[in-house]
């Protein structure tokens, strides 16, 4: 009875067929560990987003990591001065691929109201930003909306091609 040995009805419900990209992206997007780059008042809203009322863990992003080596998404929350920009860039460089960046609030997106010699006019001049969130500061709902947009973006990525995008860019030169 070789046929019945090959077929085991007990594991039938545990097998799914899907694309590898879809499976990997599904795992990635539902477990985004943020690097909380809190630089100004936006960080207060970031903390509120993590706390009980808004509860970012509903979206799998509650594990704030203060080590860049364990983080997936850097949430730049606040005013980036030129002096701090160096540190932000360095922390971003220490994050392992795949990595994403959320520019939270007006300052991180564009310099905001700080049209000044001391302030970087948008973190996108240094890092590749995936999601910009407007507001000064944005409400926690806006941050969650931004996170959901990022999840949507991750869903459409090619998981392996995107994973080492910096390395691939370097090699193709």
């Amino acid at each position: 009875m070789a046929e019945t040995a090959a077929y085991d009805s007990k594991i039938e419900g545990n097998v799914i067929f899907t694309r590898l990209d879809a499976a990997i992206n599904w795992m990635r997007k539902n477990s985004l560990w943020p690097m909380p780059m809190g630089l100004a008042c936006c960080a207060i809203e970031l903390m509120a987003t993590a706390s009980a009322r808004f509860d970012i863990s509903r979206f799998g992003a509650e594990v704030m990591r203060f080590s860049p080596r364990q983080s997936d998404v850097m949430i730049v929350a606040g005013t980036v001065t030129y002096k701090m920009a160096l540190a932000v860039k360095r922390i971003y460089d220490q994050m392992p691929e795949p990595k994403w960046v959320i520019a939270m609030g007006a300052c991180a997106s564009s310099g905001g109201m700080y049209r000044s010699y001391a302030v970087l006019q948008g973190i996108d001049q240094l890092l590749p930003v995936d999601v910009y969130i407007s507001g000064c500061p944005p409400r926690p709902e806006a941050l969650i909306e931004g996170l959901m947009r990022l999840q949507g973006k991750i869903d459409t990525e090619k998981s392996f091609g995107e994973q080492k995008r910096e390395l691939i860019e370097e090699l193709s030169i």
Binding site: Y82, K83, L86, G111, Y114, R115, Y117, A118, Q121, Q125
Partner: protein, 187 residues
């Protein structure tokens, strides 16, 4: 010792360029060369044991261009005394007071960083707010608010910030919050 007595004691021993009394505040404008000796007397004999702040003023277009302002406070009598010295653009050195009041160390670094005055004898005269190697002194009147482009090692860039018709200023008035909020207001 009251404020009047302290001011009189300084006046009797050092040349005073000007004495300004305004709303109970006393300001002594003194020579740059004598500020160290006056500071030592203030601390050791007149009881001004706290240096609250050192600030600097850029009177652009006037000569001498810069002023340094010292705010002294006595814990015992509660008296405030303000000392001012004038600094010419041709010679931007000022004697340090960091060996008299230790708190002067960082205040003087801030003035060096923002205004470009150099403090003679300072133990560690580095920039404190801007990064090492930044070439300008941003609080000077001839420095534009948006900044100047600079080529800085490690940072690699600073660009002029777009002002979009600004700077944005508020209007102090009794009007509604909407009318008072910061806007680009050309004079």
């Amino acid at each position: 010792m009251t404020l009047a007595e302290a001011a009189a004691a300084i006046e009797s021993r050092f040349p005073i360029a000007r004495k300004i009394e305004f709303r109970g505040e006393t300001t002594l404008v003194v020579a740059r060369e004598s500020i160290k000796a006056i500071a030592l007397v203030c601390k050791a004999e007149l009881g001004f044991d706290v240096l609250l702040d050192i600030s600097s003023v850029d009177n652009f277009g006037e000569e001498p261009r810069f002023e340094v302002v010292y705010e002294l406070y006595s814990l015992e009598s509660g008296a405030h005394l303000r000392l001012k010295i004038a600094v010419s653009e041709d010679d931007l050195t000022v004697p340090t007071l960091s060996d008299v009041w230790a708190t002067a160390n960082w205040h003087e670094r801030e003035i060096y960083d923002m205004m470009g005055l150099r403090f003679d004898g300072h133990p560690d005269l580095r920039r404190i707010l801007m990064w090492e190697g930044y070439p300008y002194y941003p609080l000077r009147k001839d420095f534009p608010l948006g900044g100047k482009p600079s080529d800085v090692p490690d940072v690699g860039f600073t660009k002029v910030a777009p002002l979009e018709g600004g700077p944005f200023v508020t209007l102090p008035s009794q009007a509604t919050a909407k009318d008072r909020e910061p806007r680009a207001r050309r004079p």
